[in-house]
Every structure is written in C-alpha cells, then in structure tokens.
Symmetry: C2
C-alpha cells in the first residue's frame, strides 16, 4: 500500500510546479486505517509546507496515523517552523519518506528527529520518482547553480530563423502550447540579445494562473533596445547580463536600465561562459533557467556540455538556405561518431511536429 499513498503524495507535489522555486515541490498524505484523512502540498514559495496542510486537515485523527511525504520533513526553522516538530506533536506513529532532503540544513536530521521521538521512519519509497520530480531543487540546493533546460524549435535542416531573423512560426500551435507549459516550470527564461532584437518577445508563461519567470538577456555590448517589451516590465524580473566594461563605456544606458527596474549582472570581458552566467543567476536565487536561444548561446551551452535537460521541437519545414541561422554551430567534426549524441531520448509528437526530449 505504501506505493499507492506515496504515488498520491507525489502527484500532489506536482501541483506546486513553478510556484515554489527555489524550494522543492512536496506532497503529503495522512493515512489511518487505510483511509486518507489528510492531504497537502507545498503551494508557494515561503508558504506552509505540505505536511502542515495534510496534518491540519487530519486534525485530531492524525494521532496514531501514518504520514506519507515525498521529501524528508524539515527539522530547522526556515521561513516556517520545522515540520518534524509538528509531526511529533500531532501524534503521527509512522512516517514514510520518498527521499532524503539534500539541503545541508536538513540532510537526515529530519529523519533523526522523528526517530529520536519514537516515530517509525521508512525512507526510499519511490525514491527515484521523488528525486526526478525535484531534480531542479536537488541540483540547486547542493551546487547553487541553476538547472539548465534547453528548449528550441528548429526546421528539419536545423535552422532557428532565416538569415534576417524571421522565425515566426517554425513550429505549430500544439508545440507552442507545450512551450508555455515548459516556461511555467522554470524560474528564468534566458535568450541572447540578437533574439531579443529580432523578436521583441514577451517571455511570459501564457498559461492560466501561470506566474511570470525572470526574463534574462545575455547582452555583452549592451545593444538592448530601450523600447523593447523586455525593458518595460515594472516587476523587477528583467535581468540584463552585460560586460563590466559598460559601467565605464555606457553609464547613461545603465542608469536608464536601473531606473526602469532592470536588474544588471556584470561579467568580465565580452565572451561569456554559460557556467559563469549560471553562477551569477544562482546568487539571485534563480534555481532554474530555460534557455530559448539563439544559436550563439545554444552552441555555447553544448560546447560547455552544461545542459541538464532539453526539448528540441522539429517542424516538417525546410529552409535549405546556408545563410539561415543554425541552432548549433562552431564545432568541427570529422567523424560522424564524434558528433554530439543526445542521451536519454524521449520522442514526443505534437500534431505534425515532433520533439526529442533529452537529459544529461
């Protein structure tokens, strides 16, 4: 039965997707006499934990019940009081945990607290699923580097735009709908300056009740257009990554951007490494970045072999134009076996479009 209740808890956890970052998604179920008497999930960053909702719903009946929770209950005072303490106070008899919390502040201390207080603890139930669901959290909490997801839409000949930047639309509506769902999962969406200048994108998650991610543009030479949509949000969620040299070379534009509530991140020189960009974004509590283009950043990400996961959408369209923009370039491959081989492939179809999902 453990698997059935844990599966329910894992499903509940997913309801917090895109709303709890950089916290983990967590689901909890309280069971007594083979009946679910309380459920909960972590709904939003800084809000009560899953266990609290589930235990409160169970109320007095929690006495002697079993708690299923997808991640080790916390034992420290963070934004909220420790769950482990509440679990003991509510009289839970047994606690079934999917995976331990890699957060150095928890890391086994939650389980220890429960056991020290006489609660039977079982860990590792559907552990793989528990870790998979929180792969963003697991990476960020241990490395402080955002999880990097690549999304791109290409033609059959691997182009992301024509030579003059026309890219609307390569993929069909069903694919683009799917992209909106992807955008809802990540804390930030990152593009290169050329993509911004060509497309003037909104970079919002256009799904019902979706929350907007951070918008991030990599713009070494500060070419950004002050009339672009990007520079005219008032939510302090637009980030420009630019060369430190612009502080000296272009102080007025920087001042204007700051006045427009744009967050500026400075890096040395002009050829940025994605790994350096991610370190800086991690410092801003951004736990995950969706890289959407263009060709330069995507190529750079492949060169640094730094992509955690991705989905490449393909439309049955051909440009056949050597001047069109390739989604990856700059490699020199002599033998076909030396090409970049994507791993852990899953194939998805969206009408007449197809996508390869992959992960490192």
């Amino acid at each position: 039965m453990d698997h059935i209740y844990m599966k329910k808890a894992l499903e509940l956890s997913l309801l917090g997707e895109g709303r709890v970052n950089p916290n983990p998604m967590v689901g909890a179920v309280v069971v007594k006499d083979d009946k679910i008497i309380g459920t909960g999930y972590h709904k939003e960053y800084g809000g009560p934990h899953a266990e609290v909702f589930a235990l409160d719903e169970a109320g007095d009946k929690a006495q002697g019940a079993t708690l299923y929770v997808t991640l080790e209950p916390c034992s420290h005072y963070g934004k909220t009081p420790p769950c482990a303490k509440k679990i003991v106070e509510m009289g839970i008899k047994k606690c079934v945990v999917s995976c331990l919390d890699p957060n150095p502040l928890v890391a086994g201390t939650g389980v220890k607290y429960l056991e020290d207080n006489g609660i039977e603890v079982i860990t590792g139930i559907m552990e793989k699923d528990g870790i998979e669901i929180n792969k963003i959290f697991f990476k960020y909490i241990t490395k402080k580097i955002p999880y990097l997801f690549l999304k791109c839409a290409i033609t059959l000949d691997g182009k992301i735009a024509t030579s003059n930047g026309s890219s609307k639309w390569i993929t069909n509506e069903i694919s683009r709908e799917r992209v909106q769902a992807i955008r809802n999962k990540y804390s930030g969406i990152m593009i290169g300056i050329n993509t911004l200048l060509a497309d003037n994108p909104s970079l919002t998650a256009r799904i019902e009740n979706g929350r907007d991610p951070y918008r991030i543009v990599v713009d070494p030479y500060l070419k950004i257009n002050l009339e672009s949509k990007f520079t005219n949000f008032s939510d302090k969620k637009s980030i420009v990554i630019t060369s430190k040299d612009n502080l000296e070379n272009n102080p007025e534009k920087i001042k204007t951007l700051i006045d427009k509530n744009i967050i500026l991140v400075y890096l040395e020189n002009y050829q940025f490494k994605i790994s350096d960009i991610l370190i800086e974004l991690g410092k801003l509590s951004i736990d995950s970045v969706l890289l959407e283009g263009g060709g330069y950043l995507i190529s750079q990400a492949f060169k640094e072999n730094i992509i955690d996961e991705g989905e490449i959408f393909i439309a049955p369209k051909i440009l056949g134009d050597e001047k069109a923009i390739s989604f990856v370039k700059g490699f020199s491959i002599e033998n076909i076996a030396d090409g970049i081989q994507l791993e852990n492939i899953r194939i998805n179809t969206y009408g007449d479009n197809v996508s390869f999902s992959f992960s490192s």
Copy 2:
C-alpha cells in the same frame, strides 16, 4: 461483406510488392455462399494475374460465384491472355472491383467486356485503398515517369555527412532495417556520384527473399571509380547517367563501363534536371526511383518540386559544423513562411530515431 472480401484481396495484392513492377500489385478472392473458395495475387512481373490464381483454385465451383479483385480485370492480350475472358468462361456471376485500371489499354474496357457478357459489375469498393496501394503503377502507366521517393538520414541539424563525407552511421539499426524494407519497394535506387565515391555502397535490398533494384548513379563528369562495388555487378542493373560529352571526351572509360555490363544513359550538358533523368529511366521500364542522396540531388529534387513521397529519418545527434554536408541547400528564404513545407505528414519512431513520412 464486400469490404471484408475486398480488404482480403488488397492484403493479398501487397504480397507482390517489389516483384511485379512496372505492373500493378493485384489481389483477387472468389467467394460463393459467403465462403472464400479461391485466392490469388500477382506474384511477379510477366507471371499470371491474380484472377487466374484465384479462379483456378476455385475451379468448377467458380460457376455462379463472386470475384473480388483490386484492379479492373484486363481485357487485352499482353504478357498473358485477358482475365476478363477467363472470368466469363469460368461462369463468374458478379465481379466487385476496387478501382478501374488507368492503363490506356484497359481503362474501362475490362468492365465493359464483363457487363457485355452478362456479369454484374460493382466498382469503387475501397477505391482509395486500391489506388493508394498502386500509386507507383498509377503514376507510371499514365505518365511514363517513375514515381520518386526520397529517403534520407539526417542529424538534428540537417546534415547527411561530415565535411569529409563520413556518414556511417547517422541513424540507428532499427531505422536502417526500415530502409532495407523501403528499398525492396522501388525499382531503382539513385544516388549522386559524390555519395558513391564517399561510401562505395552496395545499394542492395538486404532483406530475405528481396530482389535487387536497379542501381543508378548520376555522374555528369564520369568520375566513377571502376573499382567500386557499383561497377562490378554482373546483373546489368547498374546505370550511369552521364553527360553526352563524355562520348567524345572519355570514350575509353565509356567502353570499359559498357564491357562491365553497365547501362549508360546520356543527357545534355552537366547540370541535369531530375525530371529529365526520370524521363530517361522511365524509358527503361523503371517505374519507381528511390532517391537516397546526396545533398545536391536532394536539393535539386526539392527545387523541381518533383518528389512524390519520402521519409526523412532523424537521429538525436548534432554536428554543429558549418562545413558538414546539408541535406538541402541552395535556397534563399527571407520569410520563415516561405520555407518548403512538407505535406501529409506521418511521424514514425524507431527507437531513439524518428522519421517524417510525407507525400505531395
């Protein structure tokens, strides 16, 4: 019930795939008192027609029975005596036909002969399927131009080989198995001279009981290597398409090729149109051509908008090398909407490979 028996006849017809060209695939079923008393299909080019096998199996019982046949019975003396005559002689009462024969030598005269002899004829049962199965025959018999099928295997960035021609293997084994089945369907396999020089391919259909197709190389400057596999088959099924100028410029090589049982086809100048190539191949009774590459011929076929059908296999591999060989090039596209849009898409998966099937 008509559909059930016609479906059976259509299934039977497919058993002749790749063996009857340039004749049509035909299946036939004789039914009496709701029982199948005879079945047949056209087994090989020049051999007895489907109706003959089915009627002979039914024997005397054919008297008063119904014949289901996927294509209008012939009424003329060709390689075999007319089936319509035999149908009358055997005492068939009713004849159900999927589609009329577009062959100008038949074209309704078969049905007329049957009706004139008191047989009830119903046509158009599962007609779409009947035409679909024989699309090669329908094109060739009316236009004398071979049906053109494109097959290619590309990386995610649309490359068919590295800059130095390395292409083994882009796709996985399951995809390559599927290619062997495709090769079995078409009368000829066509490649460009560069592909031949780079790969030295066998161009055989490596499936059990498969028959070998014509091997066709487009070689305007007669660069062919006399040690290649291509020039060393003794079956008179290797065709070199070259410039007429070589008769004068390279008479010795031409003589050697002729001595090696190679068929030579001459075209004017050096920039051949695929349409001209197909006309010449049609004259050799080749009803269908599988175009396998390379980039030049594929691009040319797209430019001439002459591809009847195709399947493009994609592997989750990226070369990212601008010098690698693109599967289509030479177009100049400003607006994404002006790209080549493949139509009638079907998506197929082969393990971690995917393919787009399309048709004009």
